[in-house]
């Protein structure tokens, strides 16, 4: 999602590298690229302006360490700044802070359709997995079927989610009214729910409130009254990660009226660049606690500023990638592969397996964005099943010795493989080239520290670009370069 920022920052440090000192001019140029990228990522205008001023000031005031190139130094500054912006101010732990004695009361709030109800259920599943019981409270008495929606997901969590704790549901369906009719009723419902929670001795109470506009005084007033009545320990603002410039306005208003303790960014599984993450944190100071990454009730992850900042910088979100990969590959397999990679012993079979895993891991772009180094070069590439089959065909036509050692692949062997797999020799060459590049990268990345990674990423950027330019991965049609208008016209012409 931060691919564009990666691009720009990549560009910025390419422009800077090789020069001995950081001059005001080249820093400003780099900061300008960063600024554009952040704006394109929907980060708020004012936030971006302030951010860029700060990084420029900081970069200029910094002695360039002898061992580092200025480009690396600049990346370091931007990275630190991003982490700072995205981190909880008090260094608070991610997740839900529990209080003693129970129950911990968590209140959800946010604009319409941001994902509050779904997040309530996800949070219940998250807690259940950790052995904590909870009571889900239907405090949205406005939206048609909001109560049914929460009841259904609560039952799903109770029935299907892993873990041992109870998941209870509280509602007063007869209190439901049409829009504007049931304002204020939520206060009593929540108070009675709290009593129920005490009786049932649950660990956590989660209040699902109705979506409302931050400028709707009546409904914001109701929320304040609920807040005063139940005194939640945690008030979570649920925000759609695709939100644009307006994110600061709504976040600010909710924060001023309720004091937001944490933010949940939903729909992070989209291809949004997610600049809202930067904005909200800046205006509320409230930490982002969780990200929602799907409609399913287990699609909730703890938020880690370091990871996201790493992604922004094109260093790759290694941690998330590894976690995702673990869902695909068993732990032993992964460990074995890691060792192989470090020794530079990756085989074509491993390569294919990796490609297949990436394919299964979901939207390829998202995963590639997280791959160290290759992210920016391959983000527009698309590996589809057909291509995978071709690659598999080629690899299947290799002998097992060739699969282990590509240096065996002489021209005549490549011709044989091409014939055997009904592909062209260029295709075989391309695959070998890709394999070698990936294998080299993998070896370099394995076992590097953070600084080493920054260095390696810079080196790889060039290689990765060659790799992408070399083809093999078909550039995806319709991305950025091809305007949708062109596509639209084409179709219209076809229809006529």
């Amino acid at each position: 999602m931060f691919d564009r920022i990666q691009d720009a920052i990549g560009g910025a440090y390419r422009a800077l590298s090789g020069k001995g000192t950081i001059s005001e001019a080249n820093i400003r140029q780099a900061a300008d690229d960063v600024r554009t990228a952040l704006l394109e990522a929907d980060a708020n205008y004012q936030v971006v302006e302030a951010f860029c001023e700060e990084i420029v000031a900081e970069a200029l005031g910094r002695e360039v360490t002898r061992s580092l190139k200025p480009g690396q130094e600049f990346v370091g500054v931007v990275h630190r700044k991003l982490v700072e912006l995205l981190s909880p101010p008090d260094g608070a732990e991610p997740g839900v802070v529990q209080v003693a004695p129970p129950p911990t009361v968590v209140m959800m709030c946010g604009l319409q359709g941001s994902g509050k109800t779904t997040t309530c259920a996800k949070l219940a599943a998250y807690l259940k997995k950790r052995g904590r019981s909870c009571l889900l409270v239907a405090a949205d008495l406005q939206r048609p079927a909001a109560v049914d929606q929460l009841r259904t997901v609560a039952e799903q969590v109770e029935r299907d989610a892993p873990g041992g704790a109870r998941v209870l549901f509280y509602a007063e369906p007869d209190q439901v009214g049409a829009y504007g009719e049931a304002v204020g009723v939520a206060v009593g419902v929540c108070q009675r729910a709290l009593k129920e929670a005490l009786r049932e001795r649950v660990d956590t109470v989660i209040l699902d409130t109705a979506g409302r506009l931050h400028v709707n005084d009546e409904l914001m007033g109701e929320l304040e009254r609920v807040h005063r009545a139940v005194r939640p320990h945690q008030t979570f603002l649920v925000v759609d990660a695709m939100t644009g410039q307006d994110a600061v306005h709504s976040a600010k208003a909710f924060h001023e009226r309720l004091h937001v303790d944490g933010v949940v960014l939903t729909k992070f599984d989209s291809d949004t660049r997610g600049g809202a993450a930067l904005s909200i944190n800046r205006v509320t100071g409230a930490p982002i606690r969780f990200i929602g990454v799907g409609e399913k009730l287990d699609a909730l992850e703890e938020f880690h500023a370091e990871r996201i900042a790493g992604r922004i910088l094109g260093m790759g979100d290694v941690v998330t990638l590894v976690e995702k990969a673990q869902e695909e590959v068993s732990e032993e397999e992964a460990a074995a592969l890691q060792e192989k990679l470090a020794r530079g012993e990756m085989t074509f079979d491993d390569f294919l397996k990796q490609l297949r895993a990436i394919r299964r891991m979901g939207p390829l772009k998202q995963v590639l964005g997280m791959l160290p180094g290759v992210g920016s070069a391959l983000k527009d590439a698309q590996v589809d099943d057909k291509q995978l089959n071709r690659i598999e065909g080629i690899i299947n036509s290799m002998t097992s010795a060739e699969r282990r050692d590509p240096s065996l692949l002489t021209a005549s062997r490549r011709r044989r493989i091409a014939r055997g797999s009904a592909s062209s020799q260029q295709e075989v060459n391309r695959l070998v080239k890709q394999f070698e590049a990936v294998s080299k990268m993998a070896k370099q990345m394995a076992g590097l520290g953070a600084i080493g990674k920054i260095k390696a990423v810079r080196q790889m950027q060039g290689q990765a670009q060659q790799l992408a330019a070399g083809g093999g991965f078909r550039p995806k049609a319709g991305t950025r370069t091809v305007s949708p208008k062109a596509g639209y016209k084409k179709r219209k012409a076809k229809r006529r």
């Binding site: 319409q112 079927a145 049409a178 931050h214 410039q245 291809d271 409609e295 949708p484 596509g487 219209k492």
Partner: protein
């Protein structure tokens, strides 16, 4: 008749609300100032903050710069007028009406990402058509999200109830939870034909444009409707959330690729978001904006009015300054 009147006045007041939010437009900031680089930057900032996006903003501001260097624009207010003219020209009035079939039933397919406002918009469209004396059938093709069918059912029930005796009913066709949405679409079209209903509106499940299988499912829904009723769907409406940023462009592009979107409905324009992403969308595609959503009740649907919309883009408010 009373109902129609009530609807009209509601829409009017909804619009007034949006217009009021636009008070203190950039005009007041620009008036009486010469058009210099600093002022151009302010205009640029206003566009960015309205979610118009960097690329589209650069194009628009570029045309101001050009006109300034040719001497055509000298004052702040000239620049604003220039920009407004340019923006308004993007949306010809011709393509704002709902396209209805020559012989009923008309089929309208409603699609969009999660939580953008599809189901509510479906209810709003039904209310509007109902007020025009048309019978409407809602197809609950969201068989996935918890409570989705029930939500639409509540709307159908409420719309039928309040219309009173003699008014056209709002029908509902639903399928099994977790069932095939395309089958619901087929049944809805089928029922519409046999019951002689005027308009079918198919409410679909929210889906991210990045989910290929779900996008294919949407295409299947469309194809099934076409199979049952030749020429259907007559409108394919993409519901966008006005608070969305630049991702709306991707949504418009990918949904159009998958199901040939014929119109955009910009929901949730009653907040402080300006919905400027449709400017960028319009620069890139031919898809018109047909309606705006300005609230949560069935009356809160208004025809897209480029004038009011463009005015709103330049509203500055305390929130902007304080951020």
């Amino acid at each position: 008749m009373a109902l129609i009147k009530g609807v009209l006045s509601k829409v009017r007041s909804g619009l007034r609300r949006t217009r009021q939010a636009l008070a203190a437009p950039l005009r007041s900031v620009l008036s009486g100032r010469t058009l210099d680089e600093a002022l151009i930057r302010e205009i640029e900032a206003a566009l960015i903050q309205a979610d118009v996006g960097v690329a589209a903003t650069r194009r628009l501001v570029g045309s101001i710069r050009e006109a300034r260097s040719s001497g055509a624009l000298t004052r702040g207010e000239d620049a604003l007028e220039h920009l407004k003219a340019e923006l308004k020209a993007m949306w010809p009035s011709a393509d704002r009406a709902l396209r209805l079939a020559d012989t009923p039933p008309t089929v309208i397919l409603v699609a969009g990402i999660n939580g953008s406002g599809k189901t509510t918009t479906t209810a709003k469209l039904a209310a509007m058509l109902q007020a025009q004396g048309k019978s409407v059938l809602l197809g609950a093709c969201d068989t996935f999200r918890a409570g989705a069918v029930k939500q639409l059912e509540v709307w159908a029930h409420r719309l039928t109830e309040r219309a009173g005796a003699g008014a056209p009913a709002v029908h509902l066709v639903r399928g099994a939870e977790g069932g095939d949405p395309a089958a619901v679409a087929f049944d809805a079209c089928d029922a519409a034909v046999s019951r002689g209903v005027d308009v079918v509106i198919l409410d679909t499940a929210g889906r991210l444009h990045t989910q290929d299988p779900l996008m294919r499912q949407l295409a299947k829904i469309r194809d099934v409707a076409a199979k049952r009723i030749p020429g259907a769907p007559h409108e394919v409406l993409l519901v966008l959330d006005a608070t969305s940023g630049q991702n709306a462009l991707r949504q418009a592009a990918v949904f159009t690729d998958a199901i040939d979107v014929t119109g955009i409905i910009l929901a949730k324009l009653d907040g402080t978001a300006r919905g400027g992403s449709v400017v960028a969308i319009r620069q890139a595609t031919d898809i018109p904006v047909k309606f705006i959503g300005v609230g949560e009740t069935p009356e809160d649907l208004a025809p897209f009015d480029p004038d009011a919309f463009v005015e709103a883009l330049f509203a500055t408010d305390d929130a902007d300054r304080a951020a």
